[in-house]
Each structure stands twice: as structure tokens, then as C-alpha cells.
């Protein structure tokens, strides 16, 4: 089963992601900031990651760099959750190594179709 790690410091958002992803039949792990996310990433070995950008301790950019250039180099697909639609933020996310992005508030069907396009 496809395993997804969702990282957001807002518990409302975590909960929304959890229910949307679980309903679509994914295995979901949650983390509440970048540091927590890196730990969960190592322990759960997800097939795809969804992460928020603005988070305490370690933000989304830092998290992505940690996954891409950290101890265990990984090319796991990472989707960035963002409220901004600005090209600049997407560019930054991509430079950090993000695979794609989801604009909040997200539409569940859109979210699932994006994920399905990224996992085999």
C-alpha cells in the first residue's frame, strides 16, 4: 500500500490531509514540523511526502533539503503545501528539491489525482 507522510504544523490541516488521504486508501503518517518530519521520514520510509512550508523549528525548504541532501539521499516525491500561488515560492521549492505543489485550500480530488500521478 502506498505510504504517505504529511507534515504540517496546523493540526486542522494535518487532520484534513489525514482524512482525505486515508479515504483514498493511502497509509498516512503525520508529522508536525520539519524536524519531526525528518525523523518520521527515516522511520516510515514513505512513498510520497506532503509538506507545509511555514513551520517552526525547521521549515518546508529545510525539510526537503534534508531529504534530498541529508544522511539518506532520497528521490521520494515531495509535494509542497502552499497558500501562495506565487511563482517565486514554487521556484524556491523546486530549487530545494520539491517535486510539485498543492495550493491550499486544496480540493480532495485534485490532491488525490496529483498524488496518483507521482506514485507508481
Amino acid at each position: 500500500m502506498t505510504r504517505i507522510l504529511a507534515i504540517d504544523d496546523s493540526r486542522t490541516m494535518r487532520s484534513m490531509l489525514q482524512s482525505a488521504l486515508a479515504d483514498a486508501g493511502f497509509d498516512v503518517d503525520l508529522a508536525e514540523d520539519g524536524v519531526d518530519g525528518l525523523e518520521k521520514f527515516e522511520s516510515t520510509d514513505p512513498d510520497l511526502i506532503i509538506t507545509d512550508i511555514n513551520m517552526p523549528r525547521l521549515d518546508g525548504f529545510g525539510f526537503i533539503e534534508g531529504v534530498r541532501r541529508g544522511r539518506h539521499v532520497s528521490a521520494v516525491p515531495i509535494l509542497v503545501l502552499t497558500t501562495e500561488t506565487g511563482a517565486q515560492l514554487k521556484q524556491r521549492a523546486r530549487d530545494a528539491g520539491a517535486t510539485g505543489w498543492i495550493v491550499k485550500p486544496f480540493d480532495e480530488d485534485k490532491l488525490i489525482s496529483i498524488i496518483q500521478r507521482l506514485v507508481a
Binding site: T12, S15, G34, N54, R69, V73, L118
Partner: protein, 711 residues
């Protein structure tokens, strides 16, 4: 969805609390970069959640506030006094908007619009300032990198595609950069996305592939030529959509072809998984990982991030109840052991002691679950201070001490009203107007201090102001005018101060909008007493007034006097108890209808026989062999209860009765004693209010028999 809704609003409360404490830090200068960051995140999270729930008004306002905080964060805007004040007002309004969204009610428009425009102005001002704007932009610039997207000749073909003479086949040439793989993309999956658009032929050009062991990281990856025979007319935008995420990570050419597909090259249908590019990676670990060390952060961020779980309050209360019973079971066990012959060995005794310690520790820990810091309560008060001082035309700031002091959740909730009233009083009546303060050599800005502390098993909350103190002459004059005291009464200063707690007292020369709402300090005292607390007042002319509230740590335990009445054990709460008297020392008069009164301090206090009042016996007991308990109710009215014997003072665990029985007049609750017997807890306020008539109870006695029951 309802659960999510609740969760969102709960989270908003936490975030607003964090925002408010950040603002406090900014105001008193203890804020740092992380303070602003976490404030930004708080507003950002509120905006994000509000967007998901379609709360547009909230989103719009949060967005404006977020912009200002972002400017502060980026150094484009200095958090000076004006900005902090604006943010305070904005955070109050944000909190109003959250409340309105929660209750589905409307928000008064006028103020919000002006705050919104102030916010926009604050963040907009920097837009017009080229110097600061440039400084801000420079920070963001290194993030840009030129896009390497090749779109040669794409647009003309798009026109052709859309025209009626659109060609049948679209040809896509695609070459991935190593970064594409490193970012988690897989060309095969991209091609699968294209399959939705039509019939697909994919050819890989492997000519540029070198053996893996010779391949440096910069090796060009294979390129693919993809031909789509569209199901319907497919426009280029739909194709670009599929490549949206890899835009800039690949070379992409989209063109139209009228000629049939050239099959000279072996076609690899449905992607080319075998033709994987270099294994995904980036340069050797030069990536700098910036993990903020939590220890290096401020104490506040740690407090804000303490990990928590949310538990239904009912579960906690059930646990508290069970632990209460455990403690009682322990006492019962102890009692039956004491009745055993002493030959029983000492090891049991030792184990028993350990058991007692453990159950005591468990009880304490469980009580601590219901406890929460007064911080959120205090933060709500800072808003009251701001609003009241503005309305009263005075300048005041709130200083809080002991924010982390923990109090039972119910207590923090029920203290909101009394504290609000006390603060309004302090600012409205206590603090002088700025001119007067200057004349008296004080800081024009008054200080209201709210302090919480644990003191000998109780929570003490003190509200101090540095105002003019109580004008005792004026208080006395008003009390005389209202007939509360007589001209010749000799009153000490504390006596006069206590007049403020009398119902219907108001010192405001003119009834003000703020505190003079016909609710006086008497209501404050009633509310505090309902929580099992006491309130007292100290004042020093010229230096201010302080009001002290003392509360029990928990509402589940009550300090009481165990008494015997008509062979029943009863508990009389200690709090309203003023005196214990033996009839011999007291002057008892019998009135003509047989009622008895106690002559005390020039006042006649009605005597109520507890046994008769509760219907345990007809008529009063023999008063010479009884004891008198003098109690004073919320209203200040007093009454003397006669009981057969006073056993001891003890703490008891309160067990509600109403769930199992209906509410019984004169009885507040029950408890279980060490021997497993039930003792009812007397409701002293109701006893005072009961008709004095002894005996002749027209209702069945509240006689609960049997051993420990489960409430």
C-alpha cells in the same frame, strides 16, 4: 466535518494565545526574530484553515495582518509602538472574527474596516518607499534561477492546433535534467499522465547514454520523442499541465506533425523504465541543513510547543472519580487493619504505607490533569485593560506575574467574569487620569498587575493597581447615604473597604459605562465563593488597591467539618464556617413561636437544628447537649446550625448526587468516609435560606443507607 470544525477553532484559540503572548513580548522588548516568526506562522495557519472552511472574511483579514508581520519579519517594517499597537488591535479583531465564525454570528463592521485599512496602509507604506523595498527585494533575489524551458516555436503551432485544420499528431520532445530525477520525478509516470490525452507512442533516444560506471553526474540523460494521437482535440495547455511540475527541470518541445508517425526507430511503448537516467541524487552533501536548536530558542517558544494531547473532559473526571474511590478504599483498608489484633506482621504495615503514598501521588497527578496555566486567562485580561483604558481616557498597561501557575480548568473559565469586572474597576475607579498622575509624581501610564501563585495548597490571584487607593471618606459617605451604616458607627479602615462588597454599592461619582453596570464587587465575591474561594481587599491611599482572591487547587476536594446529627454523619464545609460555639457560652433566646435565636454582636442570628431541618427527627434536639456552628452565606446573612457532635476537620472527595438522585434541598453533594459510610455534604447557603421553623419536615429525610456507592 464538524469535528474538523471544532478542531480548527480550538487550534485558532491556541494560535491566538500564541499571537497575543508574542505581542506582549514585542511590547516589552523581550521579543526576538523567532517571536515574529511564530506570530507570522500563527496568523498564517489561521488563514490557511479559514480558507479551507470558506471563511473569506477571516482569510482576508488574516492576510492583511500576515503582510504586516511579514514586513516586520523581513525587516521592511520596524515594530515600533504604533505597529505593536496596531497589531494588538488587529489581533483583538482577528479573535472577534474567529469567534464570529465559530458562532455563525456577524461581526460589527465599522471597526474591522478601519483596522483592515490601517493594516494595508502599514504594509503598503513600504511599497512606496523605494529604499526599503529594494532592501527587501534583495533578500529574495538569490532564490531566483533562470528557467531553462525551451518553448521555441510553440505558440504558432498552438494556433494551428486550435484551428479546424489541426494536425492529427502532436510531437513532444522531452529531455530530463538530472535535477528532475533528484526532485522525485519519474518520466514514465509523466508519460502515463499523457496517456489520458490520447494514444501514445514513446521513443527513447539512447544515443547520449554512456555506461553507468563512466558516467559523471552531469551526464546528459536520454531524450524522448513522444507522439500523441489525441482522442479529442487536445490543446497545448493540457499537455503543459502534465509537465507543470517539471517545468524548468527539462527541455520540452511541443510541436504538431501532419505526417504519420515515423516508425524507423524502435518504439518503446508506454514509457521507458529501462532507460532510467542517472540514479537520483544531487551534488555531494553540500546542502546546508539549518535546524534551529530548540534549546537556543527562547523559553517562550518551548512553552508554546510543549506537546499535548486532547482528552475529553468527561474521561478525566471519571478518572478523578475513580482515584477518589481508590483513596477511600485505601482508608477503608487501613481502618479494618487497625481493627485486627496487633500480631499482624509489620510487613503488611509497611506495604500499606507505601500503598497510601502511591495512592496519594496518583490522586495529585490526576488532579493535575485538570489543571491548566492561567496564562490564557491573563491574556484575555490584557485586552480588557486596553479596551477599558481607551474608553476611560486613561493610560494603563497590564503586567502579569506567574502566568504558568496552574489552576483547575473550571476555575480559569469561571474567573473570566469576576476578573474582568475587577480590572474594569481598577482602571475606572482606581487609576487616576494622566494629569492627576503627573501631578502626583507618578508615571502617566498606570500599571495594573495580575499575579498568580500557589500558596499553602491554594491558588492566590492578586490584582494590583498603582492608582489613588480607596477614597474611604467617600465610601463611608455613600454607605451612610444608602443606609448601610449609621453615622455613629465606628468603622476601621478594613471595615470601610469591605463595604465595597455589599450588594448595591457603587462609588463612581457618575455611573460610568464601564464598571458601573449595576454589578458591584458583591457579584465578584459571590462568584469567587461559589468556587470555594475567598476575596479580600487592601488599599493604601495614594498608592493603589489590591484585591486578593484565594482559591482551592481543585474543585473535587472540599475541606469540611465532620459532624454527627441524629446518628447520621454529615459534612459542613469549612469555608462559610465562622465560629463554633457551645450553647453554654452563647446567649440563646427562645422566641414566642418556639424558634430560637442566638444573640451575637448586637444581632440576633436564627438557630437551625440541622437534624430537624433535614428531616432526620421531629423537633429540635436538646440544645444543651449540642454544639453550634455559626455560618455566614454569600449574602452576608448568618445562621447557627446545631449539631449533636463535632468529630473532626478533614478533606473529602466530592461525589455528585444529582446524577443518581434528584437535587435535595439543603444537601450539596456526598462523600464517602474511611469506613465506607456515606456522609452528605450540607449546602450551607440553602440552610441559611431555609425557613427557620424547626421540625415538622414535610419531605422525606435524605437518608442514604448502605456502603460505598458509585456516583
Amino acid at each position: 466535518m464538524n469535528d474538523l470544525n471544532d478542531m480548527f477553532f480550538q487550534e485558532c484559540d491556541d494560535l491566538l494565545e500564541g499571537l497575543s503572548s508574542g505581542l506582549d513580548d514585542l511590547e516589552n522588548g523581550s521579543g526576538d526574530e523567532e517571536t515574529v516568526n511564530s506570530m507570522f506562522r500563527a496568523v498564517h495557519s489561521i488563514k490557511g484553515g479559514a480558507g479551507a472552511f470558506g471563511l473569506d472574511q477571516l482569510v482576508g483579514f488574516a492576510h492583511a495582518m500576515e503582510n504586516v508581520l511579514d514586513d516586520v519579519r523581513a525587516g521592511r517594517l520596524t515594530a515600533d509602538e504604533n505597529i505593536v499597537a496596531l497589531l494588538f488591535t488587529a489581533s483583538d479583531h482577528l479573535s472577534d472574527l474567529v469567534d464570529a465564525a465559530r458562532n455563525g454570528s456577524d461581526v460589527p463592521q465599522g471597526q474591522g474596516a478601519s483596522i483592515l485599512s490601517d493594516l494595508k496602509l502599514a504594509s503598503g507604506v513600504t511599497d512606496g518607499d523605494p529604499a526599503t523595498e529594494a532592501a527587501g527585494a534583495k533578500e529574495e533575489l538569490p532564490a531566483f534561477e533562470p528557467l531553462t524551458l525551451t518553448v521555441d516555436g510553440a505558440l504558432p503551432e498552438l494556433d494551428e492546433l486550435l484551428s479546424p485544420a489541426a494536425p492529427e499528431v502532436t510531437v513532444i520532445t522531452f529531455r530530463a535534467t538530472p535535477q528532475l530525477y533528484a526532485n522525485g520525478h519519474d518520466p514514465a509516470l509523466l508519460f502515463r499522465g499523457l496517456e489520458d490525452l490520447g494514444n501514445l507512442t514513446v521513443e527513447a533516444d539512447l544515443s547520449s547514454i554512456v555506461p553507468l560506471r563512466d558516467a559523471p553526474w552531469s551526464t546528459p540523460s536520454p531524450s524522448w520523442k513522444i507522439r500523441i494521437v489525441p482522442d479529442d482535440s487536445v490543446d497545448e495547455a493540457a499537455i503543459r499541465d502534465v509537465f507543470e511540475f517539471v517545468d524548468g527541470l527539462c527541455e520540452l518541445e511541443i510541436s504538431a506533425e501532419t505526417a504519420p508517425p515515423d516508425n524507423a526507430v524502435a518504439a518503446l511503448v508506454d514509457g521507458a523504465p529501462e532507460a532510467e537516467g542517472p540514479s537520483p541524487s544531487a551534488g555531494p552533501g553540500q546542502g546546508v541543513l539549518t535546524v534551529v536548536d530548540p534549546a537556543a530558542g527562547t523559553r517562550k517558544t518551548q512553552a508554546a510547543r510543549s506537546s499535548t494531547i486532547r482528552v475529553d473532559l468527561q474521561r478525566v473526571d471519571r478518572l478523578i472519580n475513580l482515584v477518589g474511590e481508590l483513596v477511600i478504599a485505601e482508608a477503608m483498608l487501613r481502618q479494618s487493619m487497625d481493627e485486627l489484633p496487633h500480631s499482624a506482621n509489620g510487613r503488611v504495615d509497611e506495604a500499606m504505607n507505601q500503598f497510601k503514598q502511591l495512592s496519594g501521588a496518583i490522586q495529585e497527578s490526576v488532579m493535575a490533569i485538570r489543571a491548566q496555566p492561567v496564562r490564557s486567562l491573563f491574556q484575555r485580561m490584557s485586552r480588557i485593560v486596553r479596551e477599558t483604558s481607551r474608553e476611560a481616557g486613561k493610560s494603563a498597561r497590564l503586567v502579569t506575574i506567574g502566568d504558568a501557575t496552574e489552576v483547575d480548568k473550571t476555575v480559569t473559565e469561571r474567573l473570566v467574569e469576576p476578573l474582568t469586572h475587577m480590572i474594569r474597576n481598577a482602571i475606572d475607579h482606581g487609576l487616576e487620569v494622566p494629569e492627576k498622575r503627573r501631578a502626583a509624581g507618578k508615571d502617566e501610564r498606570g500599571t495594573v498587575t495580575l499575579e498568580a501563585a500557589h500558596r499553602s495548597g491554594r491558588v492566590v490571584i492578586t490584582l494590583r493597581d498603582d492608582g489613588a487607593g480607596i477614597d474611604r471618606a467617600r465610601v463611608r459617605q455613600i454607605a451612610e447615604e444608602k443606609g448601610m451604616i449609621r453615622l455613629e458607627d465606628d468603622l476601621t479602615d478594613p471595615d470601610i473597604d469591605n463595604l465595597l462588597f455589599r450588594p448595591g454599592f457603587s462609588t463612581a461619582s457618575e455611573v460610568s459605562n464601564l464598571s458601573g453596570r449595576g454589578v458591584g464587587m458583591d457579584v465578584v465575591r459571590n462568584e469567587i465563593q461559589a468556587l470555594g474561594g475567598r476575596v479580600s481587599l487592601q488599599s493604601e491611599p495614594g498608592n493603589g488597591t489590591s484585591v486578593t482572591i484565594s482559591l482551592p487547587l481543585t474543585l473535587a476536594v472540599l475541606e469540611g467539618m465532620l459532624v454527627r446529627v441524629a446518628d447520621q454523619s454529615l459534612i459542613v464545609p469549612t469555608l462559610p464556617l465562622r465560629e463554633m460555639l457551645q450553647p453554654g457560652q452563647a446567649r440563646i433566646h427562645t422566641l414566642c413561636d418556639g424558634d430560637r435565636v442566638l444573640a451575637l454582636d448586637n444581632e440576633l442570628v436564627p438557630i437551625t437544628d440541622l437534624g430537624a431541618a433535614l428531616g432526620y427527627r421531629d423537633g429540635a434536639g436538646c440544645i444543651e447537649q449540642q454544639s453550634l456552628l455559626l455560618i455566614e452565606g454569600d449574602s452576608g446573612r448568618r445562621s447557627a446550625l446545631t449539631v449533636d457532635a463535632i468529630a473532626e476537620q478533614r478533606e473529602v472527595v466530592i461525589k455528585g448526587l444529582e446524577q443518581n438522585y434528584q437535587s435535595i434541598p439543603g444537601i450539596a453533594a456526598a462523600t464517602i468516609l474511611g469506613d465506607g459510610k456515606i456522609a452528605l455534604i450540607v449546602d450551607t447557603d440553602q440552610m441559611i435560606a431555609l425557613p427557620v421553623k424547626s421540625g415538622a419536615a414535610d419531605r422525606p429525610a435524605p437518608n442514604v443507607t448502605g456502603d460505598a456507592f458509585h456516583a
